[in-house]
């Protein structure tokens, strides 16, 4: 398969165990070109491990990953130039100022956008005279985001980018991510546990829970294809098989997350007397599945 028609990021059967803990349990997935994939999961679900394995920053116990068609553990400079990654806790070059760091890093990227760097440093109020080590976590994260966006990447990977940002800065970042994907065709993967951020910009979502992908679909599908079904205890035996999630309450009633069938129809149990079907926002869906 040529690079142009394969997904920019691909994971194949990723397993990873460290210090006796299994962080990834056979993850297969693809991030299609031009999509914005939001990776959600609780703390410790394996999001950062998955991202690091996808980019070749750790050697998985088994399985592998491809970035723009190349094996993640042997990326050439040609691919690295087109890839930008912002880790959860940026730590590189603490002794340099933002301006010095960006000038240094920029030399390695042929498409480096100096005008964007200057405009964004001032728009995002970054102190440019102090070493990075003296910046607040939010400022440090914004400098890293500027670095990642300034190289005009084809693939942008952000690990919890919004964690240290205030709501105004988060909105600015989302706007930038949305335009890069929608207008420049940049492929974006970002992990978060702030679900409302995803609902604005993601085209796809993947839900990682205890090292496994429980859901991977278009964001609009999460709202149109899944719903919450509550069944009174007298109908518990008639519950549909293989729901996405299932909780039994103390009174014997059930809460299930169910999906539409191949013809768009809901399971027959929704017609039962006393059954109740509710539309789900993404946050509700996340809580139902990952709780």
């Amino acid at each position: 398969m040529s690079e142009s028609n394969s997904a920019p990021l691909t994971a194949q059967g990723l397993w990873h165990t460290y210090e006796g803990r299994t962080a990834l349990r056979g993850v297969d997935f693809k991030v299609e070109a031009g999509s914005v994939l939001g990776l959600i999961g609780r703390n410790g679900a394996g999001k950062s491990t998955l991202i690091r394995a996808l980019l070749g920053l750790l050697v998985p116990s088994s399985g592998g990953a491809l970035v723009l068609g190349e094996p993640a553990l042997q990326l050439t400079d040609r691919v690295k130039e087109r890839l930008a990654y912002v880790p959860q806790q940026p730590e590189a070059f603490p002794w340099l100022t933002a301006t010095q760091m960006l000038a240094f890093v920029g030399r390695f990227f042929p498409r480096w956008d100096d005008a964007f760097v200057r405009a964004t440093l001032s728009r995002w109020d970054i102190p440019t005279g102090r070493p990075l080590a003296k910046l607040s976590p939010g400022e440090r994260q914004r400098v890293e985001l500027i670095r990642a966006l300034a190289c005009r990447p084809d693939v942008l990977v952000l690990d919890e980018p919004a964690a240290a940002l205030d709501p105004v800065a988060r909105r600015e970042l989302l706007r930038e991510v949305a335009l890069r994907a929608g207008e420049d065709g940049c492929t974006v993967l970002f992990s978060t546990h702030i679900v409302s951020d995803l609902e604005r910009v993601a085209s796809q979502i993947a839900l990682l829970h205890a090292g496994q992908l429980l859901l991977h679909c278009a964001l609009d599908d999460t709202k149109e294809r899944y719903a919450r079904l509550w069944l009174p205890s007298r109908h518990a035996a008639a519950a549909p098989d293989a729901p996405v999630s299932r909780r039994v309450h103390s009174d014997g009633s059930l809460t299930l997350v169910v999906g539409r069938g191949a013809r768009g129809d809901w399971p027959a149990a929704v017609q039962l007397d006393g059954a109740r079907l509710d539309a789900l926002g993404l946050e509700d869906l996340f809580v139902e599945i990952a709780a």
Binding site: V36, A178, A181, G182, E183, V195, E199, S203, D278, A279
Partner: protein
Amino acid sequence: MLNIQPSAPEPIYRQILEQLRRLIAAGQLAEGEPLPSVREVAVMHAVNPMTVSRAYGLAEAEGLLKRLRGKGMVVAAQSGRTRSQSERLALLEPLLLALSRQVQELELPADLVLRRLGKLLGE
């Protein structure tokens, strides 16, 4: 012009489409009136431009909007007439169903709710 609520159970492209249907049916958006560009909507609400184009594309296919070269999307002629009252009422159906369900759940008498609604409507 548009009100977008990302956390609502309704996908964003549907929210945009429904609002266009209502605004055009009511004549609040008149024939020939230009719509904000996909980029403007995406930037204003920090949403994915592809979502906005999906909504505009569906509205175009429905005959609500038409694409003018060099001008972007404008409101299309609504087959020579404004929509009938019953067509406009049909647009409220999902909201009315949700309302009546909640009224029953709260065990409120219908006349009380209708009186309150009448007041809101300025009767």
